[in-house]
């Protein structure tokens, strides 16, 4: 892949520097006032990419790190060697999960705007990744997500009420009021505690996978990181340790092209993210992240490799962050307003819906009815959740429980501090 064309990044209008800077500064795909334009993107046709043998080497398939595995074409037809053998029932299940996630996100975002949550993050446009991957994995596989893989919880069956209770830190919050919204943890579902620190858990996932191999078990670890977060050292360590010890892990990069206001060009090193895996001898794929079927197939392939003892797989999911980073920012301040519309890979829900309709397994009417059903169910869940307490009014966990779990057993100095709290 060629380097992006050399452009000086300066836009200074009033630069008093005596220096003639030659520093290159990357550009954004678009900024406000510009026309969003993805026409330079080379997007291979669905079905065009070959499916390599499970025991391929990274260099043998290095082209796949620069391409794009796609199954669903623009008309919603599944095509090519990667098309997974999924039953209509499974496809409908996937569609339902994605729609459920979207309904949940919309509700929670609105509740944040009404002051009921301190913060919220949606995954709009990226639902296929978490939902499809969770469906392709086994329940004993350990998930190390970021804050944008809420879909995993829906597939693994976490009660929505419990997720909400966490987000409003109420008396039923399994995290006891300690974490910001969306930093879920769910041991029962093998869903690891999310950290506010980006990328730190990516390399922990590899350690988890090494332990699985150490114990002779078949479980794999699956971890996610955003495009921007790939710059963190933990990603390097994850790749290196996964390669060195051939850990049974799936390492995903969710390239939604933005990291708050920073475009992927600051993290992508003029290449694809997947390309970074090849130098570590880790077979690396680049996948249409808005294509439920392609994500499923790639994950299944990677999981099989892991279970056969063939080591880790690195997967870049190419997608687009349709909305703001979180409730704290307005994307219109840093990218062209129409960029989301210009994005050519579409919406994952629409694409899977069309596929199911093509198969004769779904209809517009069913779709609309399901959307209403899910919206109502989320509304009912919310009502139930706030019946266990709200962020501002409580009830919360008793405040003195903040001293619990710092250590397994509370040492004397914390007992003393708890007393001083006077509750």
């Amino acid at each position: 892949m060629a380097q992006p064309e050399a452009q000086s990044g300066t836009t200074a209008t009033e630069n008093p520097s005596p220096y003639q800077s030659k520093l290159y500064v990357p550009q954004a795909s678009s900024r406000p006032g510009e026309a969003a334009d993805f026409s330079d993107l080379k997007i291979p046709a669905a079905g065009d990419t070959g499916k390599p043998a499970l025991d391929c080497t990274a260099t043998e398939i290095s082209e796949l790190a620069y391409g794009l595995v796609r199954v669903l074409d623009d008309e919603g037809q599944a095509t090519g060697p990667w098309a997974p053998a999924l039953k209509p029932e499974q496809l409908r299940q996937g569609l339902k999960h994605m729609m459920h996630v979207r309904a949940y996100d919309e509700r929670m975002f609105r509740m944040q705007r009404q002051g009921k949550l301190s913060f919220y993050m949606k995954c709009t446009g990226e639902e296929a990744i978490a939902v499809s991957q969770a469906m392709a994995l086994e329940s004993g596989d350990m998930l190390f997500p970021t804050y944008r893989q809420q879909g995993l919880l829906f597939v693994r069956g976490r009660p929505v009420v419990d997720m909400m209770c966490h987000c409003i830190s109420n008396s039923k919050d399994n995290l006891k009021g300690r974490q910001m919204p969306v930093f879920y943890s769910w041991k029962e579902g093998n869903y690891f505690s999310i950290s506010g620190n980006l990328a730190t858990q990516y390399s922990q996932a590899v350690g988890w996978a090494m332990a699985s191999a150490y114990k002779g078990e078949d479980h794999l670890a699956c971890a996610w990181v955003g495009d921007g977060s790939t710059a963190e050292a933990d990603v390097y360590h994850a790749l290196l340790f996964a390669s060195t010890y051939r850990a049974p892990a799936i390492l995903n990069v969710v390239n939604n092209q933005w990291a708050i206001s920073t475009p992927q060009s600051f993290a992508a090193a003029g290449s694809t993210f997947a390309a970074r895996g090849t130098g570590f001898s880790i077979p690396s794929l680049r996948v249409d992240g808005n294509d439920f079927l392609a994500v499923y197939a790639a994950t299944q392939w990677a999981a099989e490799r892991a279970r056969l003892g063939l080591g880790a797989t690195f997967i870049e999911h190419f997608t687009y962050r349709t909305e703001g980073h979180s409730t704290s920012d307005n994307p219109d301040g840093y990218r062209a307003k129409g960029e989301g519309q210009a994005w050519p890979l579409g919406d994952p829900i629409e694409r899977l819906k069309q596929h199911l309709i093509n198969l004769g397994e779904w209809s517009q009417e069913q779709h609309e009815a399901l959307a209403i059903e899910l919206k109502d169910s989320v509304t009912a869940d919310w009502k139930q959740a706030i019946s266990y307490g709200t962020l501002d009014e409580g009830p919360h966990w008793p405040v003195e429980t903040v001293f619990d779990d710092v250590f397994k057993d509370m040492p004397a100095h914390l007992r003393k501090q708890r007393q001083k709290m006077g509750v």
């Binding site: 990044g9 300066t10 836009t11 200074a12 209008t13 009033e14 630069n15 008093p16 520097s17 005596p18 220096y19 800077s21 520093l23 500064v25 954004a28 900024r31 301190s118 913060f119 830190s169 919050d173 009021g177 300690r178 974490q179 910001m180 930093f183 950290s195 506010g196 620190n197 980006l198 990328a199 921007g228 977060s229 710059a231 963190e232 050292a233 990291a259 708050i260 206001s261 920073t262 600051f266 993290a267 704290s328 920012d329 301040g333 840093y334 962020l391 501002d392 009014e393 409580g394 919360h396 966990w397 405040v399 903040v402 001293f403 710092v406 100095h413 914390l414 501090q417 001083k420 709290m421």
Partner: protein, 345 residues
């Protein structure tokens, strides 16, 4: 003179130094085009270009290393860590390299890097957007550590930090970016604590638009008093002030401003007068900077002390999302400590 919030004052400090010295640049995550998640670098990109308001990858360790290299090559980088909680990936570069370079090279090399980091709680940021790690850096020889408590100081201290040839850790108490915080009601969740007080009503919200410096290493006496010395910095200066006023106690309140080097003279003089000392910080208690203050004060003022020196601090727990007002050293806890201290004879 203008009315400025602390965010605006910091922005103005950056603007003044960038205007004055082409070697100054700001760098960090989202500091360029976007102007920073707290808006501290707003407008600098438009004014000075993408090379001097430099967006970076999300790699605190890489940013710090790049800044050190730039510093060695004659620039004065001002690094923004998006949250102080995210300094740790850069801490090896800070401790092992930035702090040690001048000494280990026999004075041959140095890197005049300033690290700005929004710190402290009070914005419902939970454990990873609320930390106060300043104590750690005061243990590292070769670093200066600063935390302003108001817009006027923030601007003057930041300019001094940037122009200092030693590396400076500059912690910005984000709870008071947009207005002072007086520790409203630690028991109410929805109510009083949401009151936003504005800097425009505060005398230190008056900030000159032009360049000025406040010397590092000098504390400020916020309120004179005779019966007990209260040492605080950052957000806690205002909570302490409110507590003192509410208690009616004749306390002397000192805003340390620079933690290292510490203005021990001002501190010791006060405690020698009052014979009592209460220290307040948000950071966790054990081995926090308050411990160092206790150690120094008791060493300097032992013979005048009429009561044990008290520390009112954050608890030794991670910073909790739902319970920040119980975590914050509250007016109530400060008043109790003052009263306990005064009760000793």
């Amino acid at each position: 003179m203008a009315k400025m919030t602390m965010v605006q004052a910091i922005n103005s400090a950056l603007d003044c130094t960038m205007k004055k010295d082409p070697n100054v640049l700001v760098m960090g995550q989202d500091v360029g085009y976007f102007g920073g998640v707290f808006r501290c670098t707003e407008g600098l990109y438009e004014k000075y270009g993408s090379h001097r308001a430099l967006d970076t990858p999300i790699a605190e360790g890489g940013i710090m290393a790049a800044a050190i290299g730039m510093g060695v090559n004659g620039l004065r980088p001002v690094v923004e860590m998006q949250f102080a909680d995210y300094i740790y990936p850069a801490i090896d570069q800070i401790i092992s390299e930035l702090a040690r370079l001048r000494h280990r090279s026999g004075g041959e090399f140095f890197a005049p890097v300033t690290v700005r980091a929004p710190s402290g709680g009070g914005i419902r940021g939970g454990q990873t957007h609320s930390q106060s790690p300043e104590g750690i850096f005061t243990h590292v020889c070769g670093l200066k550590t600063v935390m302003p408590s108001n817009p006027y100081d923030a601007k003057g201290l930041l300019i001094a930090a940037i122009e200092d040839d030693d590396p400076v850790m500059f912690f910005e108490p984000k709870r008071i970016y947009n207005g002072p915080f007086y520790g409203h009601g630690s028991d109410s969740h929805g109510g009083e604590n949401k009151v936003i007080t504005s800097w425009s009503a505060h005398p230190a919200g008056e900030v000159p638009e032009e360049y000025y410096k406040i010397e590092l290493g000098k504390a400020a006496t916020v309120m004179p008093g005779d019966d007990v010395t209260v040492l605080a910095y950052g957000t806690m200066v205002h909570v302490a002030e409110a507590a003192i006023k509410a208690s009616g106690i004749n306390a002397e309140l000192i805003d340390l401003r620079t933690l290292l080097p510490l203005d021990l003279e001002t501190v010791a003089e006060s405690v020698q007068k009052t014979g009592r000392c209460v220290i307040i910080h948000e950071a966790t208690r054990t081995s926090g900077y308050g411990a160092e203050l206790v150690a120094e004060v008791q060493e300097e003022c032992f013979w005048c002390l009429k009561a044990p020196i008290e520390r009112v601090t954050g608890w030794d727990t991670p910073y909790p999302h739902a319970f920040e007002w119980e975590y914050f050293p509250s007016r109530e806890r400060i008043i109790e400590a003052l009263e306990r201290t005064l009760a000793c004879d």
